[in-house]
Every structure is written in structure tokens, then in C-alpha cells.
Amino acid sequence: MKKMVITVLGRDRPGIIAAVSKTLCESQCNIEDVNQTTLQTEFVGIFIAAAPDGLSENQLRTRLQERLTPMELAVVLKPMQEAGDWVAPTSEPFVITTLGPDRLGLVAGITEILARFEINITKLRAVFRGGSDPHRNIMIYEVDVPVAIDRRAFRTALQERAAELGLDISLQHRDIFETIHRV
């Protein structure tokens, strides 16, 4: 048994997961993990499936494409690496929120700082709630901050970058959200 990672992307509609999972089932591939999200009109799903030894990567790709290409869905398939080069350092979970008018380069500006400090983003989403009010444009980053980094320097760098970008920024340990909202 080997593990495959399958990503499917295209305009959202009923039947996408059904099509992918039917193909996997017919190919004797067991779905071990799956997640999906949609942004505006676009769907993306990621599947990790265990494939039988007799099934090659190309065979599975071909079967998926035969079913999904007519549905105008793009599919990417690759064998899963058992262990990556990158090992997650001991970290603490934080939530970063930025608030301010939308403009080019906000995410690039913030994530450059995160990358410099080896901070991994575990979840990122835009909450454009404002419409005509640019001050309601909010980004939420859930990140893992390694315990070994200079947290003060990181906070300062983040605040300086936010100021350059015209953003209000907050960096809070995620326990505060857990504490307030969860029993």
C-alpha cells in the first residue's frame, strides 16, 4: 500500500466529492483523510488515499482525469512523502488578526515576516466584512510560533510591518479565544 495525495480544483457544484470518491472506490483506494473548502465560487478538495500495490500513480491519475476533466475540474496527484525534510519545532499557537483597508501586498507583507521567523501558518482566512467600509477588512492568521525564537523581536517586526501597511494588528495566544468561547 502506498499513499497518494489528490487535489481537485474547480467551480463548486454538487457531485464533485461523489465523483472523486467513486473513482477512488472503484480503484480500491481507501480515503484516509479529506478536507475541502470553497472561496467565492471555487472549490478545492484535498484527499489522502491508500492505493493498492498493483495500481500505479499514472493509472490512478488517468482514471481521475477521465471522470473529472469533463466536469471542468483540475486534478493534481502525487505520491505522499512519508516524512518531510521539515520537522515542526516546539511551538505555541497564536492568532494574528489584521484590520485595515484592502490593498496590494498585505498578505505578502505580513507573511514575509512570518517566514523570516520560521513561523508556520496553520490556517489563514480573509474576512472581508466591510464592503464599503475599508476598516472592516480583516485577515485572520492562525500560526505556530516556535518557542525558541526571540518573541519580542518578532512582535516588534510584525508591528512595524503592520504600521507600514496601514494595518491594526494583534498577536494573541490562542488560549485566550479557547478560554473565552469554549466551555
Binding site: 482566512r125 512582535r155 494583534s170 494573541q172 478560554t179 473565552i180
Partner: protein, 457 residues
């Protein structure tokens, strides 16, 4: 993984509704500093306070930054000095207060409480010396706070001590006449004082407490008010049962914040965590007011008829939510109605909506009593004592903590303003035309016996 709503609601509480931790108070026992020699005692308490509280301010700031929740005040509460220093004269007691002030400055805390005595059943020599020293001690220091417990449900009311405190308050204001009698803002007279209050001016470390302990006072009147406003906007038919549920849930969230911050600070200081005090503590800022909650619940102002009912609902809902949120609840735990420290309450008093009589009625359903009530400068020690006696009676009969923090402002009359600055705020002096007339009663002295605890009607 959190929903957007959870994250945004938290940000809203922090940025627009003044959610913060009002105080992290480090209790430090000074009983092991006992010494026959006053200078030796002062040296020991200075060293102990500075040693135990060395990292308090830094740790509170770091923990506050970590969670994005400011810890507004860092404070110290010590063993009652009348117990720890009972052998000393009043002059020596004043030196102890100055040492406490110096230790507070050295550790960077804004107040240090515990320059007090527990005299509900009688006064020791040390108690007398301490009370005698209070005016001078509070006038000569900036950060020292004093609380004296003169009544309890089990002991009754020590009317000799009540009278003594009337005189003490009067004297303290006279010594600080240049600053509107500010010394009296740092002095509380209590019935049933809890041993673990984190809030000033009442904070001290009870004799049954550990060597050091972290107690936390949460805040959040602005959060409660906004939650009520949102609920009423979303559902104009929301009744008081629904709104008390909203307050309860909000108090839960606010209290959880206090518990988290308190436990983190305690862990980093290697000191046990004590209690969260559930009191809604206002500041003199718009949007951080207990008084505004009354308006959100449909009253024109705090003080008009209906106010006692609203406060009863508010206080009870806050306790219900808070008790579920925290493993250890203590201190005063109830809505504060400090006149000068709450902009909206101060204005209600100035406009005549809130009388001294109504304030006293309100204290029967909340903590902490007649708090930061400014009175005309010509209010006599006997009248002050009589006001205190009434407040103590409410505490004794209802088995609850009540206190009086009264400031007769030297040289000023009803309608004039007193200014204390900072968290202590400012207030218009409450009319007092009908206040006199209790002199003969107060001079009777003695102790009002403890109230019967059954037949509770």
C-alpha cells in the same frame, strides 16, 4: 480552530468595550517579619515585599501582552499591619506605612493594601495605634491603602470603632485638605471584610491565607453593557429573563479571562493562585461604566426608582456566570458603584438622580457599599460614623461584605466638585442638608450585638 465570529467578538471586547484585567494583586504575608524593634520590622518587610514581588509587574505585563489582554493594575496586599506590627506605637506604625510605600515604589505597583486592622469585636493596643496612625500614614504616602473591619455578622458592630473611624476619616481629609482630602480615598471601613479582596482600597491578606497568593480582579462593565445593547437591538422583545441570561454569559467570558491571566501570572511567579473577584469594576471613562448598564436596561439614570431591582438582577447574573467560569471565586464579587470612579454614576449624583439614601439602598443588593462618596467638608465625625453604622448594619444583617469609603472634602460644599485624578476620578459633592442629627446615638458607643441568623425575614 475558531470561527471568525469567536475571534472577532474577542477583538471587539478588547478594542471597543474596555475588556481588561483590572488588577492582579499579590498577597504577601508579613507575619514572619515580626520583630520587637520597629526599624528591624521595617527592614524585614521591605526586603520580603521586594523579594516576593520583584517580578510581579514584569510578569503581568508579559502575560498581558501574550494574550492581548492588558493587566491595568498590579498591586500588593499584605497581612493586616495591626496584627503583624501589634507591638508598635502609632508613630512607629506611620514608619511602617512609609516602608510599605517605599516597597511599592521599588516594585512598581500602584497600590499596596493592608495597613489595616480587624476590630469588629474589640481593639487591641496595636489596633488603636494603627488606627491612630492612619491619617498621618495615608497623608504621608502615595500608594498605601488602609481598611478597617468594624463589624461582622458573627460579632455585631463595634460602635466604638465606628466612631473612631468617623474621626479618623475626618482627620485624614484635614491632613490632605490641599488635595480635596485624598487620604480618605485610600481608606475603607468594612463589615465582613473578605480575606482575599484584590481591589483597593480594601485589599489585605487574611491571616488564614498562604505565605503568598495571586488574586485577580476582573473588569468588564463595558462588555456587559454592549452585550445588553446588542441583544436588545437584535430582539426588541427581549425581556429581563433573557437579558439576565445575556449578562450571565458575558460575565462567564470576562471571568474566564481573569482566571487565565491570574493562573499564568501565578505559575510564572511560582505562587499559588487564589481567587477571581467577580466584581464589575468601572473606570472614569465613557463606555467603562456600571451606571451605563442601568440605562441599557431602560432606566433614565442610576438612582431613579427601579435602580435597586436592576442592580439586584445585574449583580446576581454576574455571580451566576462568574461562578461557573472560575474554579475559585472570592473577594467582593459584585457590581461596584463607586461614585467618583464611574463617570455615569458621578453625573447621576451631580444631577440629583442619585441621593445618598438611594446609594445606601443600592448597597443592600451589591458589593461594596458606599464607595467614593464625596460629602461636604463640614460633615462631622459623628455624622460620618452614623453613615458608616448604617452601612455596617446592612452588611451584618445580610451576612455580606459592605464598606464605606467616604470623603468629606475640606472647605467644599454640596454641588462643588472634588478632584482626585486617575482611577479615583472626580465627583460632585452630594447634598447633605439632612445628614446631621445622630451625634447622641454615636456617642453611646459599645457594641451592637450580632444579629440572629434564623427567622430570616
Amino acid at each position: 480552530m475558531f470561527t471568525d465570529r469567536e475571534i472577532l467578538a474577542t477583538l471587539e471586547m478588547l478594542k471597543n468595550e474596555h475588556l481588561d484585567v483590572r488588577t492582579v494583586t499579590l498577597g504577601i504575608s508579613l507575619l514572619d517579619c515580626a520583630d520587637q524593634d520597629a526599624a528591624g520590622f521595617c527592614r524585614r518587610i521591605y526586603d520580603k515585599i521586594c523579594e516576593v514581588a520583584r517580578d510581579l509587574v514584569r510578569v503581568c505585563d508579559e502575560v498581558g501582552l501574550q494574550y492581548g489582554i492588558p493587566v491595568v493594575n498590579k498591586r500588593i496586599a499584605v497581612s493586616p499591619i495591626a496584627v503583624a506590627a501589634c507591638a508598635f506605637s502609632s508613630l512607629q506604625m506611620t514608619a511602617v506605612a512609609q516602608t510599605m510605600d517605599a516597597a511599592a515604589r521599588a516594585t512598581g505597583v500602584d497600590f499596596i493594601g493592608g495597613f489595616g486592622a480587624l476590630v469588629e469585636k474589640g481593639l487591641t493596643r496595636g489596633d488603636r495605634a494603627l488606627i491612630e496612625a492612619i491619617p498621618e500614614a495615608l497623608a504621608a504616602t502615595q500608594r498605601v491603602c488602609s481598611s478597617v473591619n468594624v463589624a461582622s455578622t458573627n460579632a455585631g458592630i463595634n460602635m466604638d470603632a465606628v466612631y473612631l473611624m468617623g474621626k479618623t476619616i475626618k482627620h485624614a481629609t484635614e491632613l490632605t485638605a490641599h488635595a480635596d482630602g485624598i487620604a480618605a480615598t485610600k481608606l475603607c471601613v468594612f463589615a465582613n471584610i473578605p480575606p482575599d479582596i484584590p481591589f483597593m482600597a480594601g485589599a489585605y491578606l487574611g491571616v488564614g491565607e498562604p505565605d503568598a497568593v495571586i488574586n485577580v480582579g476582573v473588569s468588564g462593565p463595558g462588555v456587559v453593557k454592549n452585550a445588553i445593547d446588542r441583544a436588545r437591538a437584535a430582539n426588541p422583545a427581549a425581556d429581563l429573563g433573557h437579558l439576565s441570561e445575556i449578562i450571565k454569559r458575558t460575565a462567564f467570558k470576562v471571568t474566564r479571562v481573569g482566571e487565565l491571566i491570574g493562573r499564568q501570572v501565578a505559575r510564572q511567579l511560582n505562587v499559588p493562585f487564589g481567587v477571581v473577584d467577580l466584581s464589575l469594576a468601572p473606570t472614569p471613562n465613557v463606555g467603562d461604566s456600571v451606571g451605563e448598564i442601568f440605562q441599557s436596561l431602560g432606566l433614565k439614570s442610576i438612582g431613579v426608582p427601579g435602580s435597586t431591582a436592576v442592580l439586584a438582577l445585574l449583580n446576581d447574573a454576574v455571580k451566576k456566570g462568574g461562578i461557573f467560569a472560575s474554579s475559585y471565586v472570592g473577594g467582593l464579587s459584585g457590581a461596584f458603584i463607586p461614585v467618583s470612579e464611574d463617570l455615569n454614576i458621578g453625573e447621576a449624583a451631580a444631577r440629583g438622580h442619585l441621593s445618598l439614601a438611594k446609594l445606601e439602598a443600592l448597597t443592600s443588593v451589591c458589593s461594596v457599599g458606599l464607595d467614593m462618596v464625596v460629602l461636604p467638608g463640614d460633615t462631622s465625625a459623628e455624622t460620618l460614623a452614623a453613615i458608616i453604622a448604617d452601612e455596617m448594619a446592612i452588611g451584618m444583617i445580610n451576612a455580606k461584605a459592605t464598606a464605606a469609603r467616604l470623603i468629606p472634602v475640606p472647605g467644599k460644599k454640596a454641588g462643588e466638585k472634588a478632584f482626585f485624578g486617575g482611577l479615583l476620578g472626580e465627583a460632585t459633592i452630594i447634598p447633605a442638608a439632612t445628614l446631621a442629627g445622630a451625634d447622641a446615638f454615636i456617642r453611646l458607643g459599645g457594641r451592637i450585638p450580632a444579629a440572629v441568623q434564623s427567622f430570616g425575614n
